[in-house]
Symmetry: C2
Subunit: 490 residues, 2 copies
């Protein structure tokens, strides 16, 4: 057998950790809370980047790059931004090292103290709006549709690989508009982009909604989000899109001359997803044998394991597979023929299952003679013998089917685990089961906080296009107009 994986049912958290570490996706580093993203994990991130970047560009956005550092004073310019954010962050205070006069190594040069401390960006609204001030004069300069791929740092105390790390990679879109209406449309457009990406590429169904005021991004008028259900029934916020109104424009004095020739503050949005999505991808679909990757996110989609004794057999099998490999590559399907003769086929099977390779072909000499090949799919673990002729098309269709099946399975699980709850007793019982709760809420922060305190459940979102129905709050009994989604969350 390959590496030992903790069972999902026994210890979900350890199971997750085993997949990340033993699956070769990431490692802890020597720097507290910072991870190393290993090549296999980074290859997944590259797939995410490529798909998202294309969607951003197709919706008119361009990329740019803003400084890593933010002057400390910028952070407090937007009052609620600093209140809700950015307190736990990495602070640069000096700019030089010198040789330690008392011995080996280096020390910080006390004479090289910065006049104003610099903060390693936890998010870039402040530095970007300070820049936009110089770029925006008139309505002709708007909209400004910019995205940035970057690293950010938030000094988290309790970290988990991909899900919550001190440094992580993300993209942050920052757009500027001449009207509130246009900015809200942009906010919603980017939420749709995220939802489409997560559903179509990551095979993970999401709920689209708005956050309650309590859970809003610090400095936002409205925070939209997509929420996904993980394999243990907990929620994971997979992306957010914020309508920032004129808050940052006012904080950084960004005004434009409108068509009527009047000065007006600019309207803003920001939106982001991060390497956290890799954590979601793992937790949503995988099993006790390892990762289950949807084909569109798999760095390697097809592996061929030849079963052979000696070079002559190998050569025959290799020759047979070469046209297939060419055919698959021409279809933009990634494929590898594993000719390593130092590992047994069984060991390889386990390794590729751990890595979540969607389709595995195995071919021995009996297959070779019979013109067949064994096809194993990772999602269902079904094996079948197939004719080798036409196998390229078969695989292409199979990958599409696997992508769809993984989505369907996640959706069935999600739908089966959203429960309508109408009493506090029922809430307390149901929250101990995996899944989301749909319940009436009186709309107050007090009730929301009390529920969180008692059950660790938060309001994940108020779904978009939420049916309006009269009811009473599951906790306070006060009147309510709609149900909201509660869950424990990552």
């Amino acid at each position: 057998m390959a590496k030992e994986i903790t069972s999902k049912l026994n210890d979900y958290s350890q199971w997750y950790n085993d997949l990340v570490i033993k699956g070769g996706l990431a490692d802890h580093s020597s720097v507290r809370g910072c991870m190393v993203i290993k090549p296999y994990g980074y290859a997944i991130w590259e797939k995410m980047q490529a798909a998202l970047d294309k969607m951003f560009k197709d919706t008119g956005h361009v990329n740019a790059y803003f400084p890593l550092f933010i002057p400390k004073s910028f952070l407090s310019k937007e009052a609620s931004h600093i209140e809700g954010f950015a307190k736990e962050c990495a602070v640069v205070t000096h700019y030089r090292l010198i040789n330690d006069p008392n011995g080996k190594g280096v020390i910080v040069d006390p004479d090289a103290k910065l006049e104003e401390e610099l903060i390693v960006r936890p998010t870039s609204e402040t530095i970007i709006w300070n820049t936009y001030k110089n770029w925006i004069q008139s309505y002709r300069d708007l909209p400004l549709l910019i995205n940035q791929w970057a690293n950010v740092v938030r000094w988290e105390m309790r970290t988990r690989l991909f899900l919550r790390t001190a440094e992580f990679l993300w993209q942050e879109g920052h757009t500027a508009h001449s009207t509130a209406k246009e900015a809200v449309e942009e906010t919603e457009r980017m939420l749709d982009v995220y939802a489409t990406f997560v559903e179509e590429f990551m095979a993970l169904p999401v709920l689209k909604g708005k956050k309650t005021p309590n859970e809003r991004f610090a400095g936002a008028i409205d925070t939209y989000c997509i929420e996904a259900m993980m394999g243990d029934g907990q929620a994971l916020q997979a992306g957010t899109s914020h309508f920032l109104g004129q808050n940052f424009a006012k904080a950084f004095d960004v005004q434009f001359l409108n068509k009527e020739g009047k000065l007006e503050y600019v309207y803003a949005t920001s939106w982001g997803v991060s390497t956290r999505l890799i954590g979601a991808l793992i937790m949503a679909h995988s099993d006790d044998d390892g990762l289950v990757l949807p084909p569109k996110m798999a760095p390697l989609q097809v592996v061929i394991v030849p079963i052979f004794k000696g070079e002559e057999d190998l050569n025959k099998l290799q020759e047979k597979c070469e046209p297939l490999m060419k055919e698959l590559k021409a279809k933009d399907i990634s494929v590898k023929l594993d000719t390593d003769d130092t590992k047994r086929p069984g060991f390889k099977f386990a390794e590729y299952e751990l890595k979540g390779v969607p389709v595995r072909l195995a071919m021995g000499m009996r297959d070779y003679e019979a013109g067949t090949v064994e096809v194993a799919r990772r999602d269902t673990k079904e094996k079948s013998s197939q004719k080798f002729d036409g196998i390229g098309t078969y695989i292409e269709n199979l990958l599409t089917e696997i992508q769809q099946n993984i989505y369907n399975k996640a959706k069935a699980f999600r739908d089966a685990n959203i429960r309508e709850v109408n009493s506090w007793d029922d809430f307390l019982k149901t929250i101990e089961q995996p899944g989301f709760i749909s319940a009436h809420w009186d709309g107050t922060s007090e009730t929301e906080e009390k529920i969180k305190e008692l059950t660790k459940a938060t309001i994940r979102c108020i779904p978009l296009n939420n049916p309006q129905q009269d009811g009473v709050c599951v906790f306070s009994g006060k009147p309510s107009k709609e149900r909201v989604i509660f869950a424990r969350a990552y």
Copy 2:
């Protein structure tokens, strides 16, 4: 006219700055020494990344990501590394802000001091080799061929957009090998990749060579480089590839079990290019009208400016151009039809010249009737009237020709400005002319430093495959076996 550009001859440095700022490539930021890379500049970087990333992957490398922060103690583990490097760097000492008890804003929390300071990476050898320790046990784990796309920070005192900034973007390859021979081969392979990229994509000829011990990367056994000549005759180091021997493996105790079952230290290479290349691209080819971009590096390759009065004309021209736009896009040629009716054609022409768009088409109603189109190439500024039929193929060929012509021009300039010098008097005179000097050198650091002190010229490289010939050092008169390249440099 569009924006005013300082003449290259009058003030090369201001000319460069004008191109960067007025061409919309980058801006200064509010953070000392850090730049904002604007969308047009970032689009060039994306082209560079795409081409290089493909070349790295084609030579067997994979991407990964390592932490932004390096514990201070890591830097001093490799003695010459810290000696020659990393003294001017951003130091993180605290991890929290708190509200200022005496007033508005925030202050650094004195209770949140890090036990060990963290350095924002100036380069990642130390953090990466500290990680490789856990990844490498046996010769089977080698070679390890990893690249990282990242931001790095070096606290430069005098900065210039793209050429020298406190924060910049780059890629850094870090590979591990079981033999010195293999590592040297890798070092040379990556130098070749860089040379091919700069010559074929950036249309800029380079000299391949080795640095003298004085100019070596701190911690390297050998530093290979490519050196390019800018439009003012100065040198710019466009990329480096280092053979690190076992230095970092010894510093971080990275040993492997070789095929004979013996423990041995691992051999290393590292290699990198950065956003500095954008500076090189600008300085190598541009003129007083703005940027001249080789087609392979141009975010926009073809622009069509319709010349029209009223919507009816515009519609006709637009309809005429639509099939051409489709054809060009199918050929992977980027094209834009500029239908903005608030700017005059002359203004647009100047704007696109400033932006360095390689090919500009202009079509008015007379062209429309006659079935012709005006084609202007940015490199030579030649204009001609062409038949509209078959113009797609004409443009495709023209782009190839422009790419080649820009390279040829840069090469002719470079070759005409490398001068053999055989006496110190001649050296002193020649160094005041634009260009490189090829001269004998006695091989000592003392002479090298003295020449630098007296003339500001450094030894850019000892060319690879350098003809061996007896001579005497241009400065000391001592015997020499080969000529080396001297120049003033960016």
